[in-house]
């Protein structure tokens, strides 16, 4: 594991410090670990990338606040992709559990935050009218779900492993198997969409989208390792994926000028 990888603390055994909302500004975003807007190897970015410099703002109340979600927003099967679209049986494919924690850059778990995910089926095809790949649609698989993290920032869901698929970038471009993730955090400035990849996939180094990320360590942090201990025997393998959102400072108090 590299030095910057999030610590894999199992919330059952190691309760982290309690999370209290902070309302200071967010840490400056480190743009060197994110893909640049203009990344010509990923051709769709050419016409869709701003070319002017972004205007830097100090975090204001508009960015340090964000939508609050609760269990009322979710249905009981939302985090079970094996069941939430099943019509007459189980989806085809390798059954997996994906689990992990949403943390901020100070290592604190982010509780009660919405995590949404979507993916292709085991054959590598999305349930979308624009997806015309020759792999079949699975009648029992929708391919989307969502979960709220618990009070330690932990989330999990059950699904089938998505297949890789070809796409029109270079003539022979293939996406590695991946799951899209959308995460909120406690302030709108933490809003993040990313993708999780699977340990050992040989398509990872040749993917024009994944390699928009210039930093090798940042790229490695999108690759979920097989978590053999969390597997369910004779049922599902498990993959562990921790997500780190931007850190936030405490409000400045005159009687605590060092922050906390």
């Amino acid at each position: 594991m590299n030095a910057q990888a999030p610590a894999l603390r199992d919330p059952r055994f190691n309760r982290p410090e309690p999370f209290t909302p902070r309302d200071g500004g967010f840490f400056q975003r480190d743009r060197t670990i994110h893909p640049p807007a203009y990344a010509p190897g990923y051709k769709s970015s050419v016409l869709r990338s701003p070319r002017q410099a972004l205007l830097s703002l100090e975090s204001s109340i508009s960015e340090t606040t964000g939508p609050v979600f609760g269990h009322n927003d979710l249905g009981p099967l939302d985090n079970d992709l094996i069941r939430n679209y099943a019509k007459d049986g189980d989806p085809v494919g390798e059954r997996i559990i994906v689990h992990g924690r949403v943390l901020d850059e100070t290592g604190r778990g982010v509780p009660n935050t919405l995590v949404e995910f979507w993916q292709a089926n085991a054959g590598g095809r999305y349930r979308h009218k624009k997806d015309t790949y020759l792999a079949p649609i699975d009648p029992n698989f929708g391919g989307c779900g969502r979960a709220l993290t618990d009070d330690t920032g932990y989330y999990y869901f059950r699904t089938v492993k998505p297949g890789p698929y070809p796409w029109r970038n270079f003539v022979n471009s293939w996406r590695p198997a991946h799951i899209h993730f959308s995460v909120f955090g406690s302030g709108f400035a933490q809003r993040l969409i990313t993708q999780m990849y699977f340990e050992g996939d040989p398509l990872i180094p040749v993917c024009p989208i994944l390699t928009t990320i210039p930093d090798k360590d940042a790229l490695d942090r999108l690759v979920a390792p097989l978590d053999f201990n969390a597997s369910t025997p004779f049922d599902s393998l498990a993959y562990r994926f921790d997500i780190v959102l931007r850190g936030q400072r405490s409000t400045y108090f005159e009687n605590r000028s060092e922050g906390n």
Binding site: D23, R48, S62, H180
Partner: protein, 208 residues
């Protein structure tokens, strides 16, 4: 080597891809899977404030509207307060207004609409009045990291002229890229906006 500071690094962004509708607005993709869906309607009958429609397009470098884009908006209520525990300003909370919505572009026209209320003026940490505005976050195929921008209202000239964020935009001619233009349609206020990803009228995007 000094001691390490032990901060974690933010997870790297990736494009939402062409099928963002499946995951985030499946109902709009004609996809009945969730019992409860998020939507582009932020108001209930009991929400306080002036009802408005926001209607806009996101235009790429060839002048073509994106028809696979997802926008999220986040805004204060009519009293200028965000529905979040970190906002402790004076305005009253409205329990019938979360202040957040998401909408996809129409698959044919590229139009994105929101049914919401006009937000009140916000007071920032320094006690300054900020002109009413809506925060926008944009993702789509080809957008590697979500884009942050804001919408201000064309009929708030005095407040806009004093707004601390608008006044940071140089040259001043670019401030108009953040303006939504008011018109009336069937007796209802419609604010129209255009977000240009590139070109001479490129919208001001923020590194927040």
């Amino acid at each position: 080597m000094p001691q390490p500071l032990n901060y974690l690094k933010e997870t790297a962004s990736q494009t939402a891809g062409p099928y963002v509708h499946i995951g985030l607005i499946p109902a709009m993709a004609g996809f009945d899977i969730f019992e409860k869906n998020f939507s582009n309607v932020l108001v209930t009958p009991n929400t306080q404030g002036e009802r408005i429609t926001l209607e806009g397009k996101v235009i790429d470098g060839s002048g073509t509207p994106l028809r696979d884009v997802l926008l999220e908006i986040w805004q204060a209520n009519a009293a200028g307060r965000y529905n979040h525990p970190a906002d402790r300003s004076a305005g009253a909370l409205d329990e019938n207004f979360r202040g957040w919505g998401r909408g996809g572009s129409d698959f044919e026209s590229g139009l994105v609409t929101f049914e919401t209320i006009k937000p009140g003026a916000i007071t920032d940490k320094a006690g300054r009045k900020c002109a009413p505005h809506v925060n926008i976050w944009i993702v789509a195929r080809g957008i590697n990291i979500g884009l942050n921008t804001r919408l201000y209202f064309s009929d708030e000239e005095a407040a806009n002229a004093a707004d601390p964020v608008l006044n940071l935009v140089e040259p001043p001619a670019r401030r108009k890229t953040l303006m939504a233009t008011r018109s009336e349609r069937a007796g209802k206020a419609v604010y129209s906006f255009t977000i240009n990803l590139q070109g001479p009228d490129e919208t001001v995007f923020f590194d927040v």
